[in-house]
């Protein structure tokens, strides 16, 4: 009797314990994967198709702000940060070290500038294709100026009547007349104009360009820094950095004689054999003599340690120190300008040529490396020069550093502890150079802004000098498996898996949980707004004609086009790929296969060069130069007019 009771009781207690345990476990599980309170989910929310968390992306609630660029009010009291993922400008009271306001601006704000009276801020909305004019007293947007195509860096003319904008996607430098709110002029930039800087006397505007020119096939990357006469709106000089790209930050030293830019030196012409001694990539700065335009490249790396993804560069008001943020390895390099100037003075021309390759120089002018939290990006030095503020983008925080002791002072969390979603964890991995040998590069070193560096690479496994492939943008690839140009990787998990680490990062591969985080980040990447698509979805006459050509089944003289050779067959919407492999006669003698993955065409307007090895520098060349035998669709009956229409239509994908 009692025995039975006891048995029941025992069973009950055990069952209860089990339930409690399961409850706790599932709570933590859901919390981990959704970053949200589990109440709202059932197992079915995520585990229906069991596919790499497709639904997961639907249910997770990203709450991050991702501070990118910083400005301090002229009185030094307030700090402003653009919150990339928060579509807002965050205002911080530096005395109280607290967030005082969040001002909603356009989509994906990038850079901001503040007027001399500290009452107005101009914010570039990267994906809003606009400039938000913010009244800082009222704390709201008073005007939105439409502009360009992915506006990036900003700079205000001395008289504050003109706003200069780096137009990233449009390869333009725009001058906006602030009184009329109209774009006064579009100047030709280099490849993806990025950050801007104005000389102290307001006469000269410098613009960095993130990407290399799309030069001759397998040519060395050549990336320019553009000089514009800020008084006449005329480009005056183009300083070209050979074998360098990802020129992000720029600062002009208070003396007004030198400018510093950050840069990355890719070794895309070398087969990717190993990483030691910067064989795959090296990271540094460019020093430009503003008078002569002479440019010198210097590495910030060391023999056994690399500092991936230099992003921001600022100097103290007295020009004594310069700081470079390494967003890939969570470090700030502190540069002793006196030492740097000394070093440069001591160099003859030949030495300058070599400098960009030398790993032993940085220790002569870098006096300290200051660790930060994840992904340090924009920086600003307070007007009094006492503090350096660093946007720790993937930590949603701002780090204050004492410029005298060069020690971190305090960290301002922009919001309560952020909920770590898989997507966010993935983003951190994606941006971390610490997952490559000696911290040499991160995923984004080859996929800036999650797109492509426009370069071609020669990987080890298929033999050196063989199977050179063009880098591909990550935008819109979520459902376009298989991956790789040879279409051998059936999933992103495979693509970013063991093989990847063996031939590229040369360190141990991501753990499976890390991998699924990374994949869910890549799968979550949204497409930027397509400038060639009209808001109402209507096609221009030219695009409409192009659509007919794209979908046509007969040539102009009425002959039937075999189904296998129609655009629409291999590139059907919505992804514009049939996810198969095809031989379009694009293979060259150094290719081991003739069939290549049919690429998706979404965002194709932004992914030059084209074809598997990037031999076509423009969309037109795919057909004018590399389709002589009509193996890549039938174009023999097309006129230039037809081809233009087709290209205009393709750009809308």
């Amino acid at each position: 009797m009692t025995g039975r009771v006891r048995a029941f009781a025992g069973a009950g207690v055990a069952g209860l314990a089990c339930l409690v345990f399961l409850g706790l476990a599932s709570y933590r599980h859901v919390r981990y994967y959704t970053g949200d309170t589990p109440r709202t989910y059932s197992c079915y929310s995520c585990h229906v198709d069991g596919n790499g968390g497709r639904l997961l992306e639907g249910v997770e609630r990203p709450t991050s702000l991702s501070p990118l660029m910083l400005e301090v009010s002229p009185d030094g009291r307030r700090l402003y940060a653009t919150a990339q993922d928060g579509d807002a400008v965050i205002e911080v009271d530096l005395a109280a070290r607290t967030v005082t306001r969040s001002i909603t601006v356009g989509h994906r704000p990038r850079d901001l500038v503040i007027t001399g009276d500290g009452r107005t801020a101009y914010v570039s909305n990267e994906w809003g294709n606009s400039i938000s004019v913010v009244d800082l007293d009222a704390g709201r947007v008073t005007r939105t100026i439409p502009c360009g195509n992915m506006p990036s860096g900003l700079s205000l003319s001395r008289d504050e009547r003109t706003l200069f904008v780096g137009d990233w996607q449009g390869d333009l430098i725009q001058a906006i007349d602030l009184s009329s709110g109209r774009v006064r002029v579009d100047l030709a930039g280099g490849g993806s104009p990025n950050e801007l800087a104005l000389t102290p006397d307001g006469s000269l505007l410098l613009t960095t360009n993130e990407l290399s020119y799309v030069s001759s096939h397998r040519g060395p990357p050549r990336t320019e820094v553009t000089f514009v006469d800020a008084t006449t709106d005329r480009p005056t000089r183009r300083v070209v950095f050979n074998n360098a790209h990802l020129i992000e930050g720029v600062t002009i030293l208070p003396e007004g004689d030198l400018a510093l830019v950050t840069l990355v030196k890719p070794k895309n012409l070398l087969p990717v054999l190993h990483v030691e001694r910067g064989w795959t990539m090296s990271n540094g700065i460019g020093v430009i003599d503003l008078k002569s335009g002479r440019a010198t490249q210097l590495l910030l790396d060391e023999v056994n340690r690399f500092f991936a993804d230099p992003f921001g560069v600022v100097s103290t008001p007295d020009g004594r120190l310069a700081f470079v943020s390494h967003s890939g390895v969570d470090q700030i390099s502190v540069i002793d300008m006196a030492a740097l100037r000394r070093l440069l003075r001591g160099m003859d021309d030949q030495a300058r040529q070599q400098a960009g390759l030398r790993l032993d120089l940085s220790t002569q002018f870098v006096i300290k490396r200051i660790p930060t939290a994840a992904n340090p990006k924009g920086m600003v030095v307070a007007p009094d020069g006492k503090r350096l503020y660093v946007a720790e983008r993937l930590n949603d925080s701002i780090l204050a550093i004492d410029t005298a002791s060069l020690e971190p002072l305090y960290r301002i969390e922009l919001q309560g502890k952020e909920r770590e979603t898989p997507r966010r964890r993935g983003e951190k991995l994606f941006n971390s150079g610490l997952r490559s040998f000696q911290g040499q590069f991160s995923c984004q070193s080859c996929h800036p802004r999650n797109q492509t560096d426009r370069l071609q690479y020669d990987f080890e496994p298929d033999g050196l000098g063989l199977g050179v492939v063009d880098n591909r943008s990550l935008l819109g690839i979520r459902d376009t498996a298989p991956y790789k140009w040879n279409g051998k990787n059936t999933s992103l998990f495979m693509q970013c898996g063991i093989r990847f680490s063996r031939i590229l990062t040369r360190v141990d591969s991501f753990r499976s949980d890390e991998l699924s985080d990374l994949v869910s980040f890549i799968r979550s990447l949204p497409d930027p707004p397509n400038p060639y698509r009209s808001p109402d979805g209507k096609l221009t006459p030219s695009q409409a004609r192009g659509k007919l050509l794209y979908e046509r089944t007969r040539t102009k003289d009425g002959q039937l086009i075999p189904e296998s050779n129609r655009c629409i067959t291999c590139h059907p919407p919505p992804l514009y790929t049939n996810r198969k492999r095809a031989d379009v006669g694009s293979a060259s003698p150094t290719d081991l296969v003739k069939e290549f993955d049919v690429p998706h065409l979404t965002n194709i307007y932004a992914t030059a060069p084209y074809l598997h090895d990037g031999k076509a520098r423009t969309l037109e060349e795919i057909w004018t130069l590399y389709n002589a035998k009509d193996t890549h669709g039938v174009t023999r009956d097309m006129t230039n007019q037809d081809l233009n229409d087709l290209v205009e239509y393709l750009k809308t994908f």
């Binding site: 397998r218 060395p220 990357p221 074998n243 030196k265 890719p266 070794k267 895309n268 012409l269 070398l270 087969p271 054999l273 190993h274 030691e276 001694r277 910067g278 064989w279 090296s282 590495l299 790396d301 060391e302 023999v303 056994n304 340690r305 390895v329 969570d330 470090q331 070599q354 390759l357 030398r358 790993l359 032993d360 120089l361 220790t363 002569q364 300290k368 490396r369 660790p371 939290a373 994840a374 610490l434 997952r435 040998f437 000696q438 911290g439 020669d458 080890e460 033999g463 050196l464 000098g465 063989l466 063991i498 680490s501 063996r502 031939i503 040369r506 360190v507 141990d508 591969s509």
Partner: protein, 292 residues
């Protein structure tokens, strides 16, 4: 493995010294043996994987001693040989690939350095002047030696490997054989001879491309010596110590005793245009005169 209860890991038929524990649990150590010729003691490096598999990872005929596991996952090796009586320091990956002279970064620039037993290192100035041994962590530059790493997460181990034991060859790509900091004029270099350092047999001679590059397919896990010849076939310069490649390793060199502080220039080596020249088939060539 905590120190409390020592247990036998594996039986090796010789003295094994200087064990080092890699982040992934692999133990690397040096296996000592005495060779008759010159009655020298040589130490060969082995890696004992966590699974228990033992593999040889060095192929020299010198005394190689595991000195330290570097924070980037490589092994710091101290080598003593007739060539380097005072010893030199080398670094290689745990799979035996990418062996190269080890350089440390110091505030005075990178210098050749050697670690003394207690984890301190003995830097020699660029002029070769000795400096007093200093605890590594006092030197801000010594990140690699330094056991505590400043990054939030230590660099991952490099147990990942391209080595395929079943293969018996690898490749050797040199970007510019004429690039050197030896005070020899390598401008005359016209072709490269690969010599099996043990047998002294020449495995083959291949011309150097216009840009100084050459690309060879060579037998794996054998100590090889490279010699540069001029157009008359006369030796311009001879590698004194050897080099090896692991099976399936693509070994890349920038030059021939070039400055170790240079990272490679970004240009496509001409030698790649006509694939690797195999020097395996010719392995049965005559001994080369005057090898040291």
């Amino acid at each position: 493995m905590d120190a409390s209860t020592p247990r036998r890991v594996i039986a090796v038929d010789a003295d094994c010294v200087t064990p080092g524990l890699l982040p992934d649990g692999t133990i690397v150590f040096s296996r000592l043996e005495r060779v008759p010729e010159g009655d020298r003691l040589i130490g060969t490096l082995y890696a004992l994987r966590a699974g228990g598999s033992l593999s040889r990872i060095s192929f020299g005929s010198d005394l190689d001693l595991v000195q330290k596991i570097l924070s980037d996952g490589r092994i710091l090796v101290h080598r003593r040989s007739p060539l380097y009586p005072d010893g030199i320091d080398l670094a290689l990956r745990p799979d035996g690939t990418e062996l190269e002279r080890f350089l440390a970064d110091t505030s005075m620039g990178s210098v050749e350095a050697s670690a003394v037993g207690d984890g301190r290192i003995q830097p020699a100035g660029p002029d070769g002047s000795e400096r007093a041994p200093a605890p590594s962590w006092l030197e801000p530059g010594y990140h690699v030696i330094d056991s505590i790493h400043v990054a939030p997460r230590p660099l991952p181990p490099v147990s990942t490997s391209v080595v395929k034991p079943q293969m018996d060859y690898g490749w050797l790509l040199c970007l510019d054989a004429r690039l050197t900091d030896l005070n020899a004029d390598l401008g005359r270099a016209h072709s490269v001879r690969v010599v099996d350092s043990k047998s002294g047999k020449a495995l083959g001679v291949e011309p150097i491309a216009r840009d100084g590059s050459f690309y060879l397919k060579v037998p794996a896990d054998r100590l090889l010596r490279l010699e540069l010849l001029d157009d008359q076939g006369r030796t311009v310069v001879r590698q004194r110590d050897g080099i090896w490649v692991r099976p399936n390793e693509h070994r890349g060199c920038e030059g021939c005793h070039e400055s170790r502080y240079l990272s490679p220039e970004n240009r496509s080596p001409l030698a790649l245009e006509q694939g690797p020249e195999s020097v395996i088939e010719q392995a049965s060539a005559a001994p080369v005169e005057g090898r040291p």
